[in-house]
């Protein structure tokens, strides 16, 4: 069995966990990663919802599990050729691998906030993204975050919005927003924190508790209504407009900081890999699974598997669970079908 090599594309949580499971099943996984870092988005994050677990600790655990696995950083795939059931993969450094299966774990990209022009990201100083706020929590360095007195969070930025061509829900932003709202309130207890939401999708274990905690202990004010536009006043403060849809009245307020809860989008450059592997996208632009019930980790192409947020927005626990199931699917494929 261990003669089989499996190529895992992407060294995020999905890739790492898949590799770990494949290794423990006696196979030889190889991870390739286009960036120079392991961990994907997890490496950028400080704490994880719903219970504010340390992201770094989780990443360390995931890394520890794959310390015997060959990981190629700064590598891209130049070419894939399928011969029988073997994939001949050529990397950007012209190194080639012959692998029996490929697991695509390319994850997602955060929605590019500047695409939602009316929010003025990149134009108004104090408009930041969820990722930037998370970075601030890690480093405490961001000159835009300077003793804010009033902070707003906009949910669903780049999600559920036909005007940016993303009609799906990104699933994690609601919980992330409330987690970050609590954290920033913790940092600036005198600040008023508003969350502008359309629906609060607190579906997972502990999420509703997080919502209640945010309201009760952190005094986070949830306003039902999407922010429609942002501008800057003469003092350089942000002026936002939204409707309080529970009251049916439009409202206007000035903010010192606006955090955009950017949703998930398909990762850039994945299409190139999809073309090489002959696998399709679904209507949301993510990679299409064979079916969502029993073939979640399978694609229409034999020997090509998927795991994690490359198929749709997912939470971390879901991603990790999917990685484990992908390993089983690969094992089953190699031991039974081949």
């Amino acid at each position: 069995m261990n003669t089989h090599k499996i190529l895992i594309i992407g060294a995020g949580p999905a890739g790492l966990e898949t590799a770990h499971q494949l290794k423990s099943l006696g196979l030889t996984p190889i991870i390739i990663e286009r960036s120079d870092k392991i961990g994907g988005h997890l490496a950028q994050w400080d704490r994880l919802f719903p219970s504010s677990d340390n992201a770094e600790e989780l990443l360390e655990r995931l890394k520890e599990q794959v310390k015997d696995v060959e990981i190629k950083l700064n590598s891209r795939i130049n070419h894939i050729e399928k011969e029988g059931d073997i994939f001949h993969v050529t990397l950007s450094n012209n190194k080639t691998y012959d692998v029996s299966a490929i697991v695509v774990c390319t994850g997602f990209d955060l929605f590019k906030a500047e695409k939602k022009q009316e929010y003025g990201y990149g134009i108004y100083n104090n408009v930041i993204t969820n990722a930037e706020l998370e970075k601030y929590f890690k480093t405490h360095q961001d000159e835009r975050i300077d003793e804010p007195k009033r902070i707003g969070f906009v949910h669903c930025v780049g999600s559920r919005d036909v005007k940016v061509n993303n009609t799906y829900c990104s699933k994690v932003c609601c919980a992330t927003a409330l987690k970050q709202a609590c954290e920033i309130k913790d940092e600036f207890p005198d600040a008023d924190v508003y969350c502008f939401y359309m629906d609060l999708r607190m579906f997972g274990k502990g999420y509703e508790d997080l919502y209640l905690k945010a309201q009760k202990d952190f005094d986070i004010k949830c306003v039902r209504g999407r922010v429609c536009e942002v501008s800057e006043n003469i003092e350089g403060k942000l002026v936002i407009k939204a409707e309080d849809t529970l009251l049916g009245t439009p409202m206007k307020m000035t903010l010192d900081l606006l955090v955009l809860m950017c949703g998930m989008e398909k990762a850039e450059g994945v299409e190139r890999i999809q073309n090489m592997l002959n696998i399709k996208s679904n209507s949301d632009g993510f990679i299409e699974s064979r079916d969502i019930f029993t073939g979640l980790n399978l694609t229409k192409e034999r020997g090509v598997f998927v795991a994690g947020a490359c198929t749709s927005p997912k939470t971390l626990p879901e991603t990790l669970a999917e990685a484990r199931s992908a390993a089983i699917e690969v094992f089953k494929y190699l031991s039974i079908e081949l």
Binding site: L212, D219, L247, T249, M251, T254
Partner: protein
Amino acid sequence: MIDFGFSISKSSHIKMDDVDLKLFNKLEALNPDIKTCMACGLCTATCTAGKFTDVSFRQIILMLQRGKEKEAVEKVKKCMMCGKCMLVCSRGINTRNILLSITRIYNEQNI
């Protein structure tokens, strides 16, 4: 001043910067459970007085937070204090006492 037959109408926007939340903060300090409302509307749906009028606890506390105190108080005045809203509230908010606190803190003359 000239009468042109039309004039500047008041903006329908709630200007949150101008909303004075001093009284609401007082109310909130006395009744911290007010924060946990998730606008499910059970209180409004079950309201005894709501059968005859437009009383809505959910709207009342929202209006107070948005500076629409006059409208809120008009609704409060119609409450019969029966306590059904307290009995159904899915977040266990002591709605009845909040309504009482409102009648103590807010003053028709000053809003």
